[in-house]
Symmetry: C2
Subunit: 319 residues, 2 copies
């Protein structure tokens, strides 16, 4: 085994490249602007420049075991990014990104979606060390998930398993519309966007006073709701209660499926701590099938303050 891997966090704005050792330390780091390229070829060329620059510092490509990329709409089986709405050079087609990098670097390159990468990072370097069955839930703009069963990521038949943000929570006509084109998806309620949306709904439904009314309704963000709840604002607290309760119901269904040892939460919304975690766990243990009650752990990621996305992606470099 060579001493390092490269982890790549490919986001809509920035792409961060990191050289990671086997203990999970990021030794070197560099980045480029994802959005400043028109074609995948240009993006890869700039990426290679950045990689060569940091690889030189650790003794050259001979020191690198492999590379892992975490990216939206990435398919592990094919190494492709497919129709990624927020990436100009990948939004209307299929880009063979892993193959393009592997061909130039001469090392194995694997790719998976960002939530799967986070789950792998948690398993290797975080709070899930030693766990064989857990579900990672990332609460960001949307809700992503990485599912580990029998010690392995679940990719499913087509490489796209783990879309837990898109299980249905409301089959009624007035369910919330989702970016995926349907209605009532979990992530329309349980995500940063969902929290802001719930706050706006709650504020419109009543005339009760709230700190949140200091801002125009359509400018309220999840951070505002968190800050208001911290100050004891009733409506803001109810928003977190609603969000956590919905997640508790969803986790109860996920347990019926794979009965994990733990649910591990990651992302901005987790910074609200007990405000969201308590209603998740309380609801879960109230509504889950009695057989499963009080078994699963509800944890916050151990990598929240590290560059978890790079670490997670780098985990694929060891495969």
């Amino acid at each position: 085994m060579k001493p390092y891997v490269i982890g790549v966090d490919l986001g809509g704005t920035n792409t961060v490249f990191g050289i990671v050792d086997s203990a999970g330390n990021i030794i070197e780091e560099g980045s480029i602007k994802t959005g400043s390229f028109n074609t995948a070829t240009e993006f890869v060329a700039a990426g290679l420049d950045c990689i060569h620059h940091i690889v030189k510092k650790v003794g050259g490509i001979e020191q690198i075991q492999g590379m892992g990329i975490g990216a939206p709409n990435a398919n592990y089986y094919t190494g492709t990014i497919e129709f990624a709405p927020n990436i100009a050079w990948a939004h209307d087609g299929v880009v063979q990104l892993a193959g393009m990098f592997a061909g130039e670097l001469g090392i194995p390159v694997r790719m998976t979606n960002d939530a799967n990468a986070a789950a792998m990072g948690e398993k290797l370097y975080g709070i899930a060390k030693g766990m064989k069955n857990f579900i990672m839930i990332t609460l960001g703009t949307g809700l992503g998930a990485g599912i580990i069963i029998n010690g392995k990521l679940v990719y499913g038949h087509d490489g796209f398993a783990g879309e837990l943000g898109h299980v249905n929570m409301d089959r009624s006509e007035n369910a919330r519309p989702c970016g995926c084109g349907r209605k009532g998806c979990l992530e329309t309620y349980c995500s940063a966007t969902g929290v802001a949306r719930t706050a706006r709904e709650f504020l419109q439904k009543t005339n009760r006073p709230s700190i949140l009314r200091q801002k125009p309704l359509d400018e309220i963000e999840s951070l505002d709701v968190f800050l208001a709840a911290q100050k004891g604002d009733e409506i803001a607290k109810e928003v977190f209660q609603f969000t956590g309760t919905m997640l508790g119901w969803a986790c109860a269904d996920f347990t019926a499926f794979s009965s994990p040892e733990a649910f591990i939460f990651f992302g901005g919304l987790c910074k609200s701590g007990d405000l969201i975690m308590k209603p998740i766990e309380e609801t879960y243990n109230r509504v889950v099938m009695p057989l499963f009650r009080n078994k699963a752990k509800f944890l916050i990621s151990g990598l929240m303050n590290k560059n978890a996305a790079v670490l997670g992606a780098s985990a694929l470099g060891w495969e």
Copy 2:
């Protein structure tokens, strides 16, 4: 490898023992009445008599590789039956059944629940040969499931994964009560019992004519609904439409989790064929995340007319 395994289908009424060869043929068979024993020890003693009798016919225990038992409330990890409501000698405790048989027979004995056994049988001898990711759904009195991911059964952290009959389909107060002590579980709608319940509800809601009205309301069974639907009875057809639609929604959520190659249905309700399969598949492809549309297959078990429970359990004997 020895030439045979023993498969055991332990049901509430009968326990069937079969000697199975590597091609999935049941060579010898015997059975005892599960319910005629007061203790697990008595049950095991009678079971051993039956096993010895059929094993003798194939050349003795030296010809047997192992034994697999499919049983309600069985835990694969511990080889125990735990609090099985319909088995007198196992309803109020934990019975180390696999260990008791293994100790006496001197061969490895593994145990899993009946739906998991059916999934294993389907994978080895049925329509799922060669599939690495599929979900088996058994539609009997309740709804059971066996989930295969990366070629292996999903047992979860505690051995009880795959309780898909108990995902929630209705969080409202007037959701149907379930035998598990909660409300709104999938199996309260999608099972033989669920179909009969839906029929009674539909008949009570209107005065529309129906063949089903020839029977007292509380005596209607799923078979009556099937026969009525076959004769073109509108209400009976609507019952199947309702049941299949609910299952289609549920399968869409299961796909968000593990994106299987196929859903395979087993059990009495499947004999209604298109009446139930059509609304499942139509609903699924209408409501599933667009990414997954028209990918999964919807199949009826290839073992419906064989002794699938014995075959499925026997699959564990090869492990």
